[in-house]
């Protein structure tokens, strides 16, 4: 029987439930006597090369449960993309600590790191079991129905648009908000869950799966505004022109890229501001407000989906079982059963690593500026229980008496 230590790390952007996966894995790993100790690497793989480990075996169960309920990556995260030298460094450190299992929680870039580490370990005949544990608010992982982290971020976006739409009803005008998600429109599309009755916003939803056309954008807003006297719009941060250039890249200012070559899309309000400017100057609408949801949508303390919490916990637990008992390295995926349950499955790392899933055509309305009914069906179960239910006054109008 293999024995040794288990190292777990968190990579990429934090989510509201990533620590559920961490804690699910740690509590499960403690049940196996062959796992001698559980180390947490601080700041992702950077913590491995820096030998910056904390002892997760020493954590009380009470504190682990409190950490599970805390947003953002409790171990710290990284955007580092290991090259071959970095990777050999990782393996050398893991070996020197007698590590037999390596779990890395993150998105498709993180899966790519796990794949390289797994390949290099095999080449070096180092018996290291590597499992990628899924996490991303972008929901852009291949092979999964959805990724842990997305449902809670989707719920935040839905609740934000519920409130923004009610606000816009009270003080009519045009409201546009920019939502995260990079090249995948799922999170922006989640704004559709804010609609309850006819006329509710968001009235228009712009996704990176469709080419962004400024004229179409403005004429669609005009049409909604003419009809309702107001318009609420969700725009993905990743909307781009026909050549694939993100709108945000064409704005003034320097473009910042991370180690994976991803352009920085979040952390500024520039895209929302320019969209607001267009609506104001070219449509002549008086009251235009532009928001960028920014970091709140992935880390806000106190807005999670119970379905997401449960599933994020389970993928962590499942990853440990697969690492200890399963026949091979891989990435944990979530499969949907009926309406609604899930199963976990381990797939080969190269099916997930570095790949991006985008919204299928069936999830997008023919207009290209809305979601389809099947997306709304897809999303419903993920948002969990206790979603706010906005209500409206229903009393009839009073007849006029004093004027003609």
């Amino acid at each position: 029987m293999q024995s040794g230590k288990l190292v777990i790390a968190e990579g990429g952007g934090p989510t509201a439930v990533i620590n559920q996966s961490l804690v699910g894995a740690v509590l499960e790993a403690r049940r196996f006597p062959q796992i001698e100790r559980i180390y947490g690497a601080r700041y992702g793989v950077r913590g491995i090369v820096n030998e910056d480990f904390v002892d997760l075996s020493a954590e009380t169960r009470a504190n682990l449960e409190a950490v599970a309920a805390t947003p953002s990556s409790a171990l710290g995260s990284t955007r580092d993309k290991p090259d071959l030298a970095y990777c050999r460094n990782i393996l050398a450190t893991l070996k020197s600590h007698g590590v037999a299992w390596f779990l890395y929680i993150g998105g498709n870039d993180t899966a790519e790191t796990v794949r390289i580490v797994s390949d290099e370990a095999a080449k070096a005949a180092y018996d290291l079991r590597c499992v990628h544990v899924p996490k991303t608010i972008d929901n852009d992982l291949m092979e999964s129905d959805h990724a842990p982290g997305f449902p809670s971020a989707a719920r935040f976006v839905a609740q934000a648009f519920m409130g923004a739409d009610l606000d816009n009803r009270a003080l009519p005008g045009v409201y546009v908000a920019v939502v995260m998600g990079r090249n995948a429109g799922f999170l922006t599309a989640a704004s559709s869950a804010a609609r309850m009755v006819e006329g509710d916003g968001p009235h228009l939803i712009y996704l990176p799966e469709r080419i962004f056309d400024k004229n179409k954008f403005l004429s669609e807003i005009k049409s909604v505004h003419d009809r309702f006297g107001r318009c609420v719009i969700a725009v993905s941060e990743g909307v781009h022109d026909a050549r694939g250039t993100p709108l945000s890249v064409r704005l003034p200012g320097t473009v910042e890229k991370d180690a994976h070559g991803n352009v920085q899309l979040s952390g500024t309000g520039a895209l929302a501001d320019i969209l607001g400017e267009w609506i104001k100057s070219e449509l002549g609408v008086n009251r235009v407000r532009a928001d960028t949801f920014g970091y709140l949508q992935r880390s806000f303390a106190g807005c999670t989906s119970d379905v997401d919490r449960r599933e994020a916990r389970e993928v962590g637990e499942f990853a440990v079982k697969q690492a200890v008992w399963g026949p091979r390295n891989g990435s944990v995926t979530i499969r949907r059963l009926g309406d609604y349950a899930v199963d976990c499955a381990l797939v080969n790392l190269d099916k997930v690593a570095g790949k991006t899933r985008v919204m299928p055509d069936a999830f997008i309305a023919p207009s290209g500026s809305d979601v389809s009914l099947s997306f709304r069906e897809y999303l419903r179960a993920l948002l969990g229980s206790g979603l706010p239910q906005p209500a409206r006054l229903r009393g009839g109008a009073i007849a006029k008496v004093s004027k003609g």
Copy 2:
């Protein structure tokens, strides 16, 4: 005994609990037989001059309770500032409908409208009882310990900073977020409630009660960043230079004002973006992220303080009792008793109308870039029960083995 109809309206910016006050007033008003019918004016006083009334007597109690739990102004709101002609129009319409009571829920601009209507009614010997019901996320009403709406917005800001600080711990850098509040710093100061242990952000808080100095701002950030390797900052949208000019007004683009002469500070990300630019270019910090909380902080569906919900309900109920039984027109205020209960009291309209309360010196730290302990004590009870309690891993570091 006076008899007739009661008109109620909602003015100014929506809040998450303004409908609690509306419903508190409607349910109380239904108990008085001399109040023949309850009319809601749509879109504030504009609904009165347009004779745009809905019948609140016809609403079911079940639906009213659902509306009370819904953010934003269910009747619609307005930024209209009535002049004398507008006011006479209001009075003419109210008279023609046989209105004996007028309740208007809103901030200091709304109170000013109530004062003018009250004065003009008296001049015209029209026996109209007028009561201002307080509401504002800015917390800038005179004579009150705090205003309904502020505690829920404060809770949103605290939970947002909790999450943003955890996110910034995971991926260190500088994070700056711009918070609403106009000339009053209370809402920005509420970010301090996100701190639990030493080193938690926000590390710096910039309020409109202190002159904003760019050099001080940058050197304070540098000092925090040198110490912790990261820095989280809360900045009020109303920060201004020594001449009182808001920073946001000096940014490129046109300045928009409402009918009350208030400059539009929200609805763009420009202020946060310029602050982020300064930090990046002048301090040479690599990872800088700038958010603007925007409309989420006043209307997000699903983040309220139970203390705020209860008090907002009570000021509505109290306003009706005062209108029916009390000896005079006025504005409802909230007084704090001990730690912690409240009493309501009616004060003369001119004590509240058009006036702005700002943070007292005792609530601001001597550095000018933080709050004092007494502000934190002041805020604690308002946030209500069930605030998230972020937790951290506590396990010790593992000794290095492979490297020197």
